[in-house]
Symmetry: C2
């Protein structure tokens, strides 16, 4: 079977995985299978547009993620960007590049995870592109969402006097990654490794976007600026501060660090927390902050 035939087969097997009922609810006139998809957005709403790419050996390795996790996380990361604008995710376009020798099973699993995430976050996959490449698997996902006109929660409108808040604890994903790298699980071992019971690993492989939090914050009218924390607190806080022309005070004691993370750090000598939390007490600044900041372990 030539690679072209294989890609054709894969396309056929991955198409039609979403219920037709969803297509109607989602407002899709034309889905996968034409030159382009045709779909609608809610009247009076604006588009929210983002893309996110995950590359083999850079964002994932066979010892850090199952194939289904790759699909799940790539779509979820883009959905998280929509959530960070206070938007509602609607549609996705998926570009998958893979070496010609890639086993079709890997591709099925990637799409399985992708459709699982799409189902969970109520997103309809309306198109995509499957091509071969040299090097490793590359998965680029574009998510199209919508938001009420003039209400998007951008990062440039934080104001002096605003409280800095987080929607949840930090650091589990980075600790999960470190834990996976230490264990070195082979792809065959994943079946017996209960990733779902390890909250740190779960945070890394199966993140949950804060769609509802974003919507509530938008609807409350109380939130001036919002970011998703995917590159660490320091980096994201800096982005808001720079874009808004303000300083931020991050109070170390109030940064929510979950108990598992202290336990994980303690089991490794207690110094590892520095790379996980990336946050520190900071008072107004003008120069860029470093991307990662140490937080001393209690």
């Amino acid at each position: 079977m030539s690679s072209l035939d294989e890609f054709g087969l894969i396309r056929r097997l991955t198409e039609g995985k979403q219920p037709a009922a969803l297509q109607k609810v989602a407002g899709v006139d034309t889905g996968i299978g034409d030159d382009a998809a045709v779909a609608g957005i809610t009247e009076g709403f604006r588009l929210v547009l983002t893309c996110d790419t995950m590359n083999e050996e850079i964002h994932f390795k066979q010892i850090t993620m199952r194939d289904s996790d790759i699909g799940f996380k790539a779509l979820t990361a883009a959905v998280s960007d929509i959530a960070a604008m206070g938007g509602i995710p609607r549609y996705a376009l998926v570009s998958l590049s893979m070496p010609k020798k890639t086993a079709p099973e890997r591709v099925y699993s990637i799409y399985e995870g992708l459709y699982e995430a799409a189902g969970q976050w109520n997103v309809m996959v309306v198109g995509g592109d499957t091509t071969s490449c040299i090097g490793g698997i590359s998965l680029a996902v574009t998510v199209i969402g919508e938001v009420e006109n003039g209400r998007a929660l951008v990062r440039s409108t934080a104001k002096p006097g605003d409280a800095v808040f987080l929607t949840g604890p930090l650091g589990q994903s980075a600790a999960g990654l470190e834990s996976l790298l230490e264990r070195g699980i082979s792809s065959a071992q994943w079946d017996t490794f209960e990733a779902g019971t390890d909250t740190l690993v779960q945070s890394h492989c199966r993140p949950r976007p804060q769609i509802q939090a974003g919507r509530l914050l938008l609807q409350s009218g109380l939130c001036h600026a919002l970011n998703d924390v995917s590159d660490g607190l320091a980096s994201e806080a800096w982005e808001i501060a720079e874009a808004s022309g303000v300083g931020l005070d991050l109070i170390e004691e109030r940064i929510p660090v979950p108990d598992e993370l202290y336990a994980f750090a303690a089991s490794r000598g207690g110094t590892h927390l520095t790379i996980f939390c990336m946050a520190e007490r900071i008072t107004s600044w003008s120069a860029p902050l470093p991307r990662s900041i140490s937080l001393s372990c209690k």
Copy 2:
């Protein structure tokens, strides 16, 4: 300079390349630089969504395209999909993956070509993702367009009695590619090679999407089904036939083959045209056609 710093620099140098005036005309509330872009579409219109990916050594090599051509063609290929629906291209999201050792100059050139195409086709680049990868450069471009509600020119509505037509001649891009592969131009030689004067090479490296033709065909109300011919006439005709449940008669004498192509084929012994035109007299069929069909050289 670490790769991260380089990417940051590249991002800074490539952002703000589009005039602020375009941003207002285009209806962009928030462009590059936040979690996601926020933009509008025309009231009563539907979204048209597509993505297209170009990978090094698969879709281009250093002997077949300058870096600026890669950016130009990747965006243009996605715009062509919008045109093939009768739509108006509006916004683009760009995902660029590249090996860590990639020279920043290559990236600048890719973006230069990308912005050149964006300017020509009136598309605003509103976001993207720049990441590293193993293997070669990969460029995935999503284009978001719009079309009048219920008017998109899909491929499933061809009807018995419809005339089959083409908006222009065929085969130049494939011949241009063959010509480039024969010449084996190194990246240093591109500067002195006048690609612009060679219409076959120009067709391969700098394609022109049929945006206006798509709009006219939609507005005329006379066109029942439309595809862009990027994979050859046979393949695209088959897609329309299969989706619409009809047969198509392609009349060999009426397929527009430009003189340069006959000259190119003749200079190579006259048999090469078979791979360029991929079309043949075909009468109604029910089974899938082969992807490429020979056309005898006159």
